[in-house]
């Protein structure tokens, strides 16, 4: 038991470490219920890795089992690596116990995709819900959106997470088809657009009704690999323009 959880953490932290995002700032969640945690204001780097990167969040994957075979990803189906998966309770307990000891500012949760988008997203949602509702956790949570998950799940997750993100992966659709043939930009743009519209909607309602709940208060982000496919810089800029369209 002892050894198994250690091994899982090792595998799933290792698989998540190349994700660039580590910020824990930008949210405005206060400790309002005498619970635990406070994600207001600036972020804190609790330690730094030996390569000099900030460690602010418990950055892990729920699982590195994946049905996709994206060439740029260590967890791709065809890669011969050790696989592991946390249970919902394990992630909740790890987060709470790390947080209580002042090791971290919160949780960064991403995942490989087992079975399908909804099946995975449902588990991610259960984790954040459990943290927020059962544990009264007010720390920072960054949740990765799973491409192909239904809008209802995304919307509910947005009520609990501080920041959400879904990755465009490649600057152009052509490049994406080359390296991740099972994915498409359409699958990503839809949730990006949905979250953005909801953020705007909740903000508007907040102006009228004070008790409107928070919805992704730290906003959303996306990432992509630049330089893996032979696009020119000019071509690479297209999604940047596109993203300003989404985000503004």
């Amino acid at each position: 038991m002892f050894e198994r959880i250690r091994e899982k953490l090792e595998i799933l932290a290792d698989a998540a470490k190349y994700d660039v995002s580590c910020s824990s700032s930008g949210s405005n969640r206060k400790n309002h219920n005498k619970g635990i945690g406070d994600a207001e204001g600036t972020g804190i780097c609790h330690t730094y890795t030996e390569d000099g990167r900030c460690v602010s969040l418990l950055k892990i994957l729920l699982t590195n089992h994946c049905i996709y075979d994206c060439a740029f990803c260590v967890s791709r189906r065809s890669n011969d690596i050790k696989r592991a998966a946390f249970t919902v309770d394990e992630v909740v307990e790890l987060t709470m116990n790390f947080y209580r000891r002042n090791y971290i500012e919160g949780l960064f949760l991403s995942s490989g995709i087992f079975k399908d988008g909804d099946y995975t997203m449902e588990r991610l949602l259960r984790i954040v819900k459990k943290l927020r509702v059962d544990e009264k956790f007010n720390g920072y949570i960054h949740l990765k959106t799973i491409p192909g998950a239904s809008p209802e799940l995304l919307h509910e997750a947005g009520l609990y997470a501080d920041r959400m993100s879904i990755n465009l992966e490649m600057p152009t659709e052509v490049g994406l088809k080359l390296l991740a043939p099972e994915k498409s930009h359409e699958d990503v743009k839809k949730p990006l657009d949905q979250i953005q519209k909801s953020i705007v909607q909740y903000k508007d309602e907040k102006a009228l009704i004070k008790s409107t709940p928070k919805f992704v208060p730290a906003g959303q982000s996306t990432q992509m690999v630049i330089g893996a496919t032979p696009e020119s810089d000019k071509r690479s800029c297209i999604p940047l323009m596109l993203s300003t369209k989404i985000f503004l």
């Binding site: 002892f2 190349y18 945690g37 406070d38 609790h46 030996e50 000099g52 900030c54 116990n97 000891r101």
Partner: protein
Amino acid sequence: MELYVFDGTLEGILTAVFDSYERKASLVKLVSSEHHLPDAFQETFTVISEDYKAKRVWNGLIKKLDKEWMKRFYKSFLSEQPQTFQDLFDFAHYIFDNLPGAENNFGNPVVLAVSQMDRKVHREKHRMEAFIRFQQTGDGIFYAHIDPDFNVLPLISDHFRKRYADQKWIIYDLKRKYGLFYDLEKVEEITFDFTTEMSSSLNALPAQVLDPKEELYSLLWKDYFRSTNIPARKNMKLHIRHVPKRYWKYLSEKQV
């Protein structure tokens, strides 16, 4: 030049400012009694801290300085540096003797010194918010001890009270021999003596007073720290700049 000896408190500095005006002293050297070495050829004046004098000077400063500057004044004081005591004394004089806005004259060495010391104390405060590592004891209290460069406990108390509202915790300053205790209601100052087995030289509490799960989680944290590192990009120079070596002794991920 007159030598003023005070008790090392903030009230002491403020009272010294009051006294110096009352005694019409033009040049004053301010020393805390802790750092004072008696000198046969120097006349000394002992400042006796008095509340009403200190309050009057403090209120006088409030009239001329904004909130930000009052905080800076207090934070610089917490550095406990002998030179800073003198700087604060001179700063108060400079503010009272000049028109409003004098605090923005960073060409004045005293203004500069106070604001630089404020930055240093602030940085130490932020580091403590990051580097404190609690250990859960058998009776459910989360305990951490620190030994910060400056006396930052008063500055971090609010941060931890807001954040860990549902757990009891103690943060103990080994250098200054006092700590903060949060009992789920309020934060109190405490002092206690260490028994030999809980000697302060230990960076962790002995296993028998800890919660049985404590060992697992500090181990998992160490594992996490190791596996989130990218060995191929090792950069110790940068690592040490962010996590200076003097803090390592109380960082659980840095213990072997």
